[in-house]
């Protein structure tokens, strides 16, 4: 389990795009670095991310080691009615974590 911060606006209008901000606490070890003994530090990154709103895709992303540590993402969503944003990400060990955020459309 890694720490995730999600920010969505409190007031959302129907069919009006709004921004979602997401910060995942993860080292995103690139696999390019070496430790003090000269041994390569194995790669460990979040390589896949998908955000859905009630099952419909918002954004799907493939990440490579060039994404900075503690990845930050900001993207736009459009909603017709209240629902749940599901943000799922997968790391190199195949571990998947999902963050659910309820949004209220007024």
């Amino acid at each position: 389990m890694v720490r995730v911060l999600v920010n969505v606006p409190k007031q959302i209008a129907a069919n009006e795009p709004f921004d979602v901000k997401l910060l995942i606490s993860h080292p995103m070890e690139s696999g390019q670095r070496r430790d003090q003994m000269g041994q390569a530090i194995p790669r460990d990154i979040i390589n896949h991310f998908i955000c859905t709103l009630d099952g419909e895709t918002v954004l799907e992303a493939d990440f490579f080691p060039a994404i900075a540590a503690n990845p930050f993402l900001s993207f736009s969503v459009v909603a017709e009615k209240s629902g749940t944003l599901a943000m799922t990400f997968t790391d190199d060990h195949g571990v998947t974590q999902t963050e659910l955020v309820a949004i209220t459309v007024t």
Partner: protein, 139 residues
């Protein structure tokens, strides 16, 4: 046989500068993406600072303003990083606008390229040449 002194120097150099990707490598990746038709300039906008103080975390925004057909995906490449691919973003039906902000690593001063692929099959390109003072990926 390599003299010991030169070997030590050589291995030290290799340790600090991981092999960088080349513009040709990136061009091949882009060609695999767009096919024989080269991507056109414009439509997509890649927003990156021209002077980067710290390559470990560089804010990047890619966006497509008023696309004639929905944007399928945006690909980002860094020519001077050890691994040229940075990220791929695919937009679904619930996306409000084809725009993403994230933070990336830059190993050296280089050109960063963004390619947008639209549903009508057309590809658009934007690039930024930037200077990096403190490089990422080394330590």
């Amino acid at each position: 046989m390599i003299p010991r002194r030169r070997f030590v120097l050589l291995s030290a150099c290799c340790a600090v500068s991981p092999a960088a990707a080349t513009p040709a490598e990136v061009a091949a990746l882009i060609q695999a993406l767009t096919g024989d038709v080269p991507p056109k300039d414009g439509l997509i906008h890649l927003d990156l600072p021209v002077m980067v103080e710290n390559g470990n975390s560089v804010a990047m925004t890619v966006s497509v303003a008023d696309p004639p057909s929905p944007v399928e995906a945006i690909h980002v490449f860094a020519e001077g990083n050890p691994l040229p691919r940075v990220a791929v973003f695919r937009f679904g039906p619930r996306s409000g606008a084809p725009r993403v902000t994230t933070r990336m690593r830059l190993a050296t001063s280089q050109t960063v390229i963004a390619i947008a692929r639209l549903r009508d099959g057309s590809c658009w390109r934007d690039s930024v040449d930037l200077l990096v003072t403190l490089a990422a990926c080394i330590d």
